[in-house]
Amino acid sequence: MSFPLIFERSRPKRRGLRPARGPLPDPALLFGEENLRQTPPRLPEVDELSLVRHYTLLSHRQAGVDTTFYPLGSCTMKYNPKAHEEAARLFADLHPYQDLSTAQGALELMWELQRDLAEITGMDAVTLQPAAGAHGELTGVLVIRAYHKDRGEDRTRRVVLVPDSAHGSNPATASMAGYEVREVASGSDGEVDLEALKRELGPHVAAIMLTNPNTLGLFERKILEISRLAHAAGAQLYYDGANLNAIMGWARPGDMGFDVVHLNLHKTFAVPHGGGGPGSGPVGVKRHLEPYLPVPTVKRVGEGFALDFDRPKSIGRVRSFYGNFLALVRAWMYIRMLGGEGLRQSAALAVLNANYLRLLLKEKGYRVPYDRLSMHEFVAQPPEGFRALDLAKGLIELGFHPPTVYFPLIVKEALMIEPTETEAKETLEAFAEAMGALLEKPKDWLENAPYSTPVRRLDEVRANRRPKLTYFDEP
């Protein structure tokens, strides 16, 4: 019995939601015959109960943090408090163009969040407009670009440096911002190789994009030296906030010398990932970059709050309206409930969990390149002869969501594991047991896992060669 598509639950003329009532106007009179659609879109025709059953049962075919340990490295799959959903509901019915005298509460919240995020990152000004992490990256790099342009250096500074361990979004962003990307090899300690960096640095470099801790989960210990070198070369230092969960409350990118930082509110600040978004990617900058931030930001005016469009050197807008506002509400609540000490303790326990799990996996026979104290995540390798993919699929059979696999690229068969602080000790132990058990499984079992999932391994080659991208599509 294959699970039906919503189109297969459809029956001609069946009706579901009926939000409108009253005699229908003649479309030809309203719009003119020439503007009318000739054939209706083939949308499903289902009743409300079928709709509910379809999506309820579909949700049973989906794992989430609410159902299982989800140690997807670099994604910070922590618990998303249910109370945040109620918080968001309180602000659902605001229109972005309503007179701002009637939206003062929303602006106040944004203003406070700007201030809080600036404090947490050690930055001077924050925009809440970017809709996701990568969007924040683009915003940040465009700000850097505007800065260089303003100084007349945009034609010379054409290069952005990224470590070879960086998230793929870093080079992709730099490229979208019109830069040439050069990779800087990591040293044998997994950190940026200072000598390699020096070789690449020069008046042609606009920025260095770093994640710290980096994607190996290692803190870049020479960060102050890197910062010194970057600034000496006239480059700006960009902080990819994907890994901020490791250090919040313990250190601030601003204090490390970073000029720009983006945050992933859906990672660090517990906004739900939603199956792949919407997220929110605020960007903080040091004072010298503030003039280039997107407009508008929120400013205080007397007892009230207003939108600030007065930034003539701004890069403009990167999104309509004011960003993913309802995500901001959730992040505001998270920060307010934890406070400074709660954030700090959360980071410490995220790091503790990662290190504890690293230890357990080593005991089970996994290799850990760069084996030293990690931060909130670490990269493990299976023993010789095991494929990361097979282990991932085996884990699924044992009821866990796999870690990120085959990333970072500089580690072969990488398993990138980020447990987060909201997982319990016994969960880490059960996961380690499962990881250990996998190494005892017959090769054949591993290569064919999983077995009891709604579907088993899927034919990816077929999907790539003859993609069928819609229900009505003939592949």
């Binding site: 879109p41 949700s59 005298s101 996701a132 969007h135 505001w332 709660g342 230890l359």
Partner: protein, 437 residues
């Protein structure tokens, strides 16, 4: 604090690691940057009850706009609670990108169904899994057209949402492409000549002033010059109006807020990006294909990932990673729940009520038409007083209306939806009369 650790467990775990305090976990951090305890200057922590009480107090400083007469990219259509009830189920809410298809068929199938519905609505072939919003969908759609044509100029009608144009400008500036704006004549885009080096022509219909454009000649002209036509559309309007595929658009983009989403002070909603099949390998973002598993069962999987950043890095089609999956799911649930008939009813009744509102407001002394019919659910009027003053005066009377039109301070936008009653419309008319008296 949501961490489960008991003091005893922390002690045990540290001991196993050979450490004696949590501070030691941070030994790799340079002393110069290490914050002391209490190092962050944030307000003291609140309990959940306190935080919610504060949020309720903040919420009371807003006046909800569920009966607003505002458009401009966001409109107060009825958002059926079943949509958020289903999309808000924990499994959907707390999943991430479906990298592991065996335990992510829920999200993958939902995307596949979404792709189908967006293709149907727009009359084009391939929809990605979603974009952040309408403005970024437009920017990505135009970049796609430039990649495909290898050109670096874009011709954009001034009828395109002003904020979308601003976002597009920022994205184009980044890669050094040029944005050329084509002014409106009155409320509509005049016939345009497309220069030879233009890679993308952008038109919005219904345009920002609500008016229906006639994009066919523009599509022909664009194609004659080797450019692609990018149409910015209102997905709700496509229940009754000609879809982009019918007038020759190569790329359709827009925002899904009108499809059962909360207005949310502007976000999150979702953006959509749908293209002709020939453009699929230029498409940014996630894409799901049907396939089969080892037992021959139907299943769904991310496909053509070679376009994406985590594979291609600097050579990716876009840096997009997180998109707007949950809100796109809401859009799909809304569309499935409405069906073609329901969607048509909402579209027609919204348009009818907008037309009625137009007629009523034109009876108010001093109010002049700017948008001329046919329009969809929004229209611009010329007011005898500046829009900003009128909006504020209406707000004081409890009405949300008269959104700004950037290029003329005396123009104001009004909208209506299926959720407005005749009484609502009459009340606004009376209020406007009072304000303009």
């Amino acid at each position: 604090m949501y961490a489960p650790h008991t003091p005893e467990e922390i002690r045990e775990m540290l001991e196993r690691l050979g450490l004696s305090s949590l501070e030691e976990l941070f030994q790799d951090l340079p002393q110069e940057v290490l914050l002391p305890e209490g190092g962050l200057d944030l307000p003291p922590p609140l309990t959940e009850a306190e935080a919610l009480a504060r949020l309720r107090a903040l919420a009371r400083k807003n006046r909800p706009a569920d009966k607003a007469f505002l458009g401009g990219g966001v409109r107060p259509h009825h958002a059926p609670p079943v949509v958020s009830a289903l999309a808000g189920r924990g499994e959907f809410l707390t999943a991430y990108t479906p990298y592991q298809p065996e335990m992510s068929q829920g999200v993958l199938q939902a995307i596949f169904e979404y792709q189908t519905m967006m293709a149907e609505l727009t009359g084009l072939e391939v929809s990605n899994a979603s974009m952040y919003d309408g403005s970024t969908a437009l920017a990505e759609g135009v970049l796609l057209a430039l990649r495909e044509t290898g050109r670096m100029r874009v011709l954009v009608s001034q009828g395109v949402h002003p904020e979308y144009r601003e976002v597009l400008r920022a994205y184009l500036d980044a890669v050094g492409a040029e944005l050329v704006e084509a002014p409106l004549e009155g409320d509509r885009t005049p016939p345009l000549e497309v220069p030879q080096d233009v890679g993308a022509v952008v038109v919005q219909t219904p345009n920002f002033l609500g008016a229906l454009e006639t994009p066919d000649p523009l599509a022909e002209e664009a194609h004659r010059k080797g450019a692609l036509l990018v149409a910015v559309v209102d997905p709700l309007s496509l229940a009754v109006l000609r879809p982009p595929g019918a007038y020759g658009a190569d790329i359709a983009v827009g925002d899904g807020q009108v499809l059962g989403q909360a207005m949310g002070f502007g976000g999150p909603h979702f953006g959509f990006l749908v293209v002709r099949k020939a453009l699929v390998r230029q498409l940014p973002g996630r894409l799901v294909s049907e396939t089969v598993d080892v037992e021959g069962r139907r299943g769904f999987i991310l496909t053509l990932q070679a376009r994406e950043q985590f594979i291609r890095r600097a050579k990716a089609k876009s840096n997009i990673t997180t998109n707007a999956q949950l809100t796109a799911l809401m859009g799909a649930i809304y569309l499935a729940g409405m069906g073609p008939e329901g969607l048509k009813e909402v579209a027609l009744l919204s348009a009818a009520r907008a037309r009625r509102l137009y007629e009523l407001l034109l009876e108010v002394p001093g109010v002049q038409p700017f948008t001329r019919p046919p329009f969809f659910a929004e229209f611009a009027l010329r007011l005898p007083r500046p829009q900003a003053e009128v909006r504020q005066a209406l707000a004081e009377r409890g009405f949300h209306a008269a959104a700004p039109v950037p290029f003329d301070p005396h123009l104001a936008l009004f909208a209506a939806t299926e959720a407005h009653t005749e009484e609502d419309l009459l009340a606004l008319k009376e209020a406007l009369k009072e304000v303009l008296a």
